[in-house]
């Protein structure tokens, strides 16, 4: 027989762990189904997953690569999560990221030429990153303003901005910003200057200080959203715009700020990738981040620390997938399927609850209020 104390402790513990239960079970279920799919097309699920885990965590290099993958995921996941908190659905992280990357690359390779002088790293890096952040913020502020002042739904507008960004970067990377090196045939920028590169943390591994920045930014976002008046306003507009208006909050301005903040984070993702990893921007490199970011934000329950964990998971999966494909010939696209399934089960947590018989919690993300306008 358990004493009242012990029962109370367990109940407390399960209550604290409750937010984690559904995401964990969702991942488990998705992994199982993914394994079934692998088996159905003739592969060996156990070997595949073993390859995956090995590739993600099996060595120093693996861990470093996982962190490398996770870095932009953290920023992009935060971007979508912040927008969610403001009651907005930012599907445009893809375009904001690309635009931010392009602008950061521009500063990275072109600024020393324009100024005809080398620039010290402690100026160059922040400038490059800063412009990337501003670019992303601006790219998101446009649909934000359209939503605030004309009621145009941000779902379609951000998607349109994605395609516009795609076309724009295609144009730039095939034209004015193309790497003039005669050996180069791909659409990409020249390498950025040494002074614009974020140094790696360890000498022979790719993981760079951008990863640490990501963790710091996540913590900062948590503080911003829950400990400041600005965050209070963002969350209130997201929870109930009518009450927010009565509370004296300028709803329209807050919508634009939320989107701009979201875009800034996405732009930061792109900028960090350019300055910390690739040292240039190449067309097609960032495809898919936008939708992954949505899954990460939802898996992390739109909480910055949850986003960190979810981003690391997704980074691990993407990283490990190459080794899995190398060892077992299973295409890396299976990861996309598994990630889609994870998203499915997290979004429809009722399914997971039904399967595993868990009682329901309160919170439900409500974004769809029709098309407004």
């Amino acid at each position: 027989m358990q004493s009242a104390d012990q029962q109370g402790f367990l109940r407390n513990l399960t209550r604290r762990l409750d937010p984690l239960i559904v995401p964990l079970l969702a991942i488990l279920t998705a992994v199982v189904i993914g394994g079934l799919i692998i088996w159905a097309v003739g592969g060996d699920p156990i070997a595949a997953y073993r390859g995956l885990v090995q590739g993600a965590f099996g060595s120093d290099r693996a861990l470093s690569e996982t962190a490398v993958w996770a870095t932009p995921y953290i920023f992009a996941g935060l971007a979508v999560a912040v927008a969610f908190k403001g009651g907005l659905f930012n599907i445009g992280a893809e375009g904001q990221l690309a635009f931010g990357a392009v602008m950061a690359a521009l500063i990275g390779y072109a600024l020393p030429d324009w100024l005809h002088t080398p620039i010290p790293a402690y100026i160059h890096i922040p400038l490059a990153i800063g412009l990337g952040v501003l670019a992303g913020a601006a790219w998101a502020a446009i649909p934000g303003a359209l939503k605030a002042y004309t009621g145009g739904h941000e779902v379609i507008n951000t998607i349109m901005m994605n395609y516009i960004a795609l076309n724009l970067t295609s144009f730039l990377l095939n034209g004015p910003m193309k790497d003039p090196n005669p050996l180069n045939v791909v659409a990409r920028t020249p390498s950025i200057a040494e002074s614009a590169r974020i140094p790696p943390i360890f000498v022979d591994l790719r993981v760079h200080w951008g990863f640490v920045l990501a963790l710091l930014v996540a913590a900062f976002m948590w503080w911003l959203l829950w400990k400041t008046t600005v965050g209070f306003e963002i969350r209130t507009v997201g929870a109930n715009p009518d009450a927010a208006k009565y509370a004296g909050i300028n709803v329209k301005r807050t919508i634009v700020i939320s989107m701009a903040l979201s875009g800034a984070l996405a732009g930061l993702a792109g900028a960090i990738e350019v300055t910390g990893l690739n040292y240039r921007h190449e067309l097609g490199f960032s495809v898919g981040y936008g939708f992954d970011a949505i899954a990460i934000a939802l898996l992390g329950r739109t909480n910055p620390f949850g986003v960190i964990l979810a981003a690391i998971l997704f980074g691990a999966m993407r990283n490990g997938a190459t080794r899995m494909q190398f060892l077992t010939q299973i295409p890396i696209d299976i990861i996309s399927v598994i990630q889609a399934l994870i998203l499915l089960f997290v979004a429809a947590d009722a399914i997971v609850r039904y399967i595993y018989r868990i009682r329901a919690r309160e919170e439900r993300v409500v974004l769809t209020r029709g098309w407004g306008g």
Partner: protein, 513 residues
């Protein structure tokens, strides 16, 4: 005179919702040709019982008999087939459809695969004339006046040959004259063989029109009686379970300086129509001005304009000497306005937030709740604890989301928040809608208390009894204009009712501003 054969019998109906036993072994019957009133306060279980009879809910246990035969009602199709029709409190009409389309929905007449709108329109006209209901089949329902919309609902039931009619709070949206009209229609219907169940919480109506009265409280039937055998006080105590003081005790008002001056205000509604058309009035410190009128005559938009939630098209208003016309909510709140909004869950609270956060909803940016941009959580919590105690808000803790509180306690959170600021003018819009009697008593007491402390109170209410009980002066609003101002002692329901319907007695002098 109704004969005694039973057209409808409900025996032992029980229905459990999570956390609430809505119906507890309820027995109810309806005699042929009678008007049987079902009386009870909000949450007593009346609508649940009727929804079960109509097939929208399924009872956990119990039997229903129609015309003496045991029946199973699982969906509205079943009850409609048995001749039961229901007119809901919130109309079940589709605004963008015509009257004919609304009437035929679910029972459409089809010719060669296509909707036969003509035949339906013809039948609607016929029913309309027969019962004196006067509805135009081609009209778009969204453009009809509320009283007419209600008639469409009645036509809907007659179209399906209903002989048992359930009316849920039908007079909530009618003027006293329109209510009388409705009672006339009801008696006409009973003469033609229809039996009516009439749900309400208004005691006076029940005594005026019912043949029998059944009172429900907390899910069970307290008793059944007739108007001859009972009176208001007795019915009220049956509804609540204890002695109820039906009038608010208050001293005569001692009004001082003018706090709010409204001049020729013009406001448009969401559709762009002029809905407040040149309204002027003052409210003084220490008095309650009641704005009476049936909902939909511009009162909602007037209150929204005064709180900064809606744009002002013309005219101006001045609070405490400061012109606030066209300002957003924050400066108005800072100038000393307190607001108990009509739609408390939409404008008054963020339901997913804690009680503590809701209590600083309008002042989160000011010290002590914030230093610069940083929120001071301890100050917020201390404030919440103090207010919860002071206003007796029933909540397990300040950190519970307000969605978990009862309607009455949610309203208390709002009242506590608004009154904890230095307030010169308090606007209360439909403050007791949907609340239990205990909460209603509390809110009324608070309003009078504020008045006695020198606050100017603007009370907007569609409940005439509330206005008559609380207001010192009464302004009646009709179609966006104030028909007249009346001193409370000099007014009564009939004369107010006429004003509410837009009828100014010929002998009246010009309305004073």
């Amino acid at each position: 005179m109704a004969n005694t054969s039973l057209v409808l019998e409900a025996r032992g109906i029980t229905k459990q919702f999570p956390g609430v036993l809505a119906n507890d072994r309820v027995d109810f019957d309806l005699r042929q040709g009678e008007i049987h009133a079902l009386l009870g306060e909000n949450g007593a279980g009346k609508t649940t019982l009727m929804n079960i009879l109509y097939g929208l809910y399924r009872a956990d246990s119990g039997d229903v008999l129609v015309d003496g035969q045991a029946v199973t009602i699982l969906t509205p199709k079943d009850s409609i087939g048995l001749g039961i029709g229901m007119v809901h409190q919130h109309f079940m009409l589709i605004p963008v459809f015509t009257v004919a389309e609304n009437v035929m929905l679910g029972d459409e007449t089809v010719r060669r695969g296509m909707l036969d709108r003509k035949t339906v329109a013809g039948k609607v006209q016929e029913l309309s004339h027969k019962y004196g209901l006067d509805v135009n089949p081609q009209a778009l329902v969204g453009q009809l006046a509320v009283g007419l919309q209600q008639r469409v609902e009645i036509v809907k039931t007659l179209y399906r040959d209903a002989h048992i009619l359930i009316l849920d709070e039908p007079t909530a949206v009618l003027t006293p004259q329109e209510a009388d009209d409705l009672f006339r229609i009801m008696r006409e219907l009973t003469k033609r063989g229809v039996s009516i169940i009439f749900i309400t919480h208004k005691l006076k109506e029940v005594l005026a029109v019912a043949d029998r009265i059944t009172v429900m409280r907390n899910g069970h039937v307290v008793g059944t009686t007739t108007p001859q055998e009972t009176n208001e006080a007795q019915l009220a105590s049956m509804m609540v379970g204890r002695e109820v003081i039906l009038t608010v005790r208050k001293e005569p008002a001692q009004p001082k300086e003018k706090i709010l001056e409204v001049s020729d205000l013009h406001v448009k509604d969401d559709r762009g129509l002029d809905v407040v058309r040149g309204v002027s009035f003052d409210v003084r410190a220490g008095e309650i001005l009641g704005i009476a009128g049936v909902q939909g005559n511009g009162q909602t938009e007037l209150a929204e304009a005064l709180t900064g939630l809606r744009a002002v098209q013309g005219g101006e208003f001045v609070l405490g000497g400061v012109d606030l016309t066209g300002d957003p909510p924050r400066p108005i709140t800072e100038a000393g306005l307190g607001n108990i909004p009509e739609d408390r869950q939409r404008h008054g609270l963020v339901l997913s937030y804690t009680v503590a956060d809701n209590m600083v909803l309008c002042s989160y940016y000011l010290p002590p709740f914030a230093r610069g941009l940083v929120l001071q959580q301890e100050a917020v919590d201390a404030n919440a604890r103090r207010l919860i105690q002071e206003y007796d808000v029933r909540t397990p803790s300040p950190y519970v989301p307000t969605s978990k509180l009862s309607g009455g306690n949610q309203q208390k959170v709002i009242v506590a928040r608004e009154l904890s600021r230095p307030v010169k003018l308090l606007i209360a819009s439909q403050p007791t809608r949907g609340l239990d009697v205990g909460s209603i008593e509390y809110i009324h007491k608070q309003l009078v208390l504020m008045r006695d402390r020198g606050v100017a109170v603007l009370l907007v209410s569609a409940e005439l009894d509330e206005i008559l009980a609380l207001a010192d002066r009464i302004a009646v609003m009709y179609r966006g204009q104030i028909m007249d101002f009346v001193e409370a002692e000099d007014s009564d329901k009939e004369s107010l009712g006429l004003l509410m319907a837009g009828i100014k007695p010929a002998s009246q002098p010009e309305p004073a501003a």
